[in-house]
């Protein structure tokens, strides 16, 4: 919405193969195609190891596809794409930088002056509720607080596209719900296109406009579900009890269940 067509992500025929240590070719994702409209919040759900992180790696430009293309705002992705922010599965804060310096990193790398970057970072820390923690180091924060710093560090660049790889996967249930609500609030202010990876179906339905289900390995898109829950969604905790939420959740689960069972059988068979 705010970014126009520049925030449109078009993925077609995306395939990624890896060479395993014993020389075999392993196909992680196979012929993945979908489009994310500007300003859309799209979740990808699938069993572990189906290639969700791999897909995101190609969109961010960190990795190169083996086949197929990713286009962002009409431009084919070739190397790191400008205007894309990434929130990682693991903690990706720089442990030797203070909270403030961590949030400042993005603007500084883009050539913003120290003073301006610092006041902008302070503003973002206030927006994620971490005023007063500017001089702490990441190890002095709780897991939830570290995620907030990561969120501020990703959003301070006002990205047109936000990629999130199971960002709240490691949090306890209560902290997770709070973070989800905060993310939605911030997203509604900036309206970037979001590609949100999770294995938590509730999370996907509560946050997204659309949920894509990925098949078990090699991953490809199996189904796409539109989530017509009204926005703004407000508190993620309460939305979970609405009948429409439960109905959607139930329908999507029946699609996901097969893949989870297949993925489980494959790994259990291999073991």
């Amino acid at each position: 919405m705010a970014h126009g067509d520049a925030a449109r992500i078009e993925i077609s025929g995306l395939t990624k193969r890896f060479l395993t240590p014993n020389g075999e070719v392993f196909t992680a994702i196979q012929d993945v195609s979908f489009v994310i409209e500007p300003g859309q919040f799209c979740a990808i759900v699938g069993p572990t190891g189906c290639g969700k992180s791999t897909t995101l790696g190609q969109v961010s430009g960190l990795e190169r596809p083996s086949a197929g293309t990713v286009t962002v705002g009409g431009q084919p992705v070739d190397g790191i794409t400008d205007g894309v922010s990434f929130m990682f599965q693991a903690d990706a804060l720089f442990p030797w930088k203070t909270v403030l310096a961590n949030v400042m990193t993005g603007p500084t790398l883009r050539g913003m002056g120290k003073k301006e970057a610092s006041s902008l970072a302070r503003d973002w820390l206030r927006r994620v509720g971490l005023s007063g923690f500017e001089d702490r180091y990441p190890h002095q924060l709780s897991g939830g607080m570290r995620k907030r710093v990561g969120m501020a560090a990703a959003l301070i660049n006002e990205p047109r596209i936000l990629l999130m790889d199971e960002p709240f996967g490691a949090l306890d249930v209560q902290t997770k719900a709070i973070m989800q609500t905060e993310l939605l609030g911030l997203w509604e202010q900036l309206r970037p296109s979001v590609l949100f990876i999770t294995h938590d179906l509730d999370e996907a339905v509560a946050l997204s406009d659309r949920v894509l289900i990925m098949t078990s390995s090699p991953g490809s898109i199996k189904h796409s579900f539109d989530i017509d829950l009204p926005r703004p969604r407000g508190d993620v905790q309460t939305i979970r009890h609405e009948p429409r939420f439960l109905e959607l959740q139930d329908r999507i689960w029946s699609s996901l269940k097969d893949e989870v069972e297949r993925a489980y059988a494959a790994t259990a068979g291999a073991a």
Binding site: L62, I80, S85, F88, F94, T98, L109, R110, N157
Partner: protein, 289 residues
């Protein structure tokens, strides 16, 4: 009203607990220091007794009181090669220059090879070959090539330091968290910015840890090269004392270098605390031992 009574009680027991833990900590510190004083007392005492009684021959093994006298003699009467201060300064200077040279080259080359796979694979085998040369042979070569002055001492110290620092810097770069590299890359960092914001700070933990050992090696390098051939320096004093069957002076020199190394160790620890202040405290405390 009734709720205030347990509250004050809780505060009282809180301060009680604080006082008790403070007492326990003081007792612990006392014990540590008693132990620390007892160790040299017992060691030097048994050495003294063993040589007095004749279990050990003081002609070969020296004697603590004689070592003390040798120390006093070194500081009051000086040596055949000038005052002890002059000689000590010569050795420290050589070790320090060697330390700086070895650390500088070790860090730069370690970072370079750590980040560049091609360079690492090209130079890797040669570095292993160089590392396998016995240092004492290098010492002889340096004396022959560069004479008895300061330079060959600096060089040998630098070589000893280089390998310690190099391998740590190299490993430090290799151990960089790939998540952090990915993160800085999506933030739009250039290769130089990646090094400045991630690779170097991350490798610094390893590099600084190596400096503790490295300074000891610098001292060894300078001393060994002085023993091989010099006009001044503690190594020369040791060599001459050894020739005169004077173990007390050798021990005295050892004690002097021990104090120097301890002082350097203290300074490096200060540096470590400053540069690595971001680390969780339990880790640096474990390393302080």
């Amino acid at each position: 009203m009734s709720s205030t009574i347990p509250a004050t009680k809780a505060i009282e027991s809180d301060t009680d607990a604080q006082a008790a833990s403070r007492r326990a900590r003081r007792r612990h510190t006392q014990r540590v220091w008693i132990g620390r004083i007892l160790v040299p007392v017992v060691f030097l005492g048994s050495w003294q007794i063993a040589t007095e009684v004749g279990w050990l021959d003081k002609f070969f093994f020296g004697q603590p009181t004689a070592v003390w006298q040798a120390l006093v003699h070194l500081f009051t009467a000086g040596t055949a090669f000038g005052s002890i201060w002059l000689n000590l300064w010569v050795t420290i200077k050589e070790a320090l220059y060697g330390f700086l040279l070895g650390t500088g080259t070790g860090v730069v080359i370690g970072l370079l090879l750590g980040q560049n796979r091609l360079l690492a694979e090209v130079f890797g085998p040669y570095i292993k070959v160089l590392n396998s040369i016995p240092r004492i042979i290098l010492g002889s070569i340096f004396i022959v090539a560069f004479g008895l002055g300061t330079f060959p001492k600096v060089l040998l110290a630098a070589v000893l330091v280089f390998f310690v620092v190099f391998f740590n810097a190299f490993q430090g770069v290799r151990e960089v968290d790939q998540n952090l590299i990915a993160n800085i890359r999506v933030l739009g960092a250039s290769p130089l910015q990646i090094a400045r914001h991630v690779t170097i700070p991350s490798a610094l933990t390893w590099i600084i840890a190596s400096l503790h050992t490295a300074f000891g090696f610098a001292i060894i390098g300078a001393l060994v090269e002085e023993v091989l051939g010099a006009q001044h320096g503690i190594g020369l004093i040791i060599k001459v004392a050894q020739g005169n069957f004077d173990p007390d002076t050798v021990f005295a020199c050892m004690a002097i270098m021990g104090v120097v190394t301890l002082a350097a160790e203290y300074l490096i620890t200060l540096l470590e605390r400053r540069v690595l202040s971001w680390r969780p405290p339990n880790r640096s405390e474990a390393q302080a031992i």
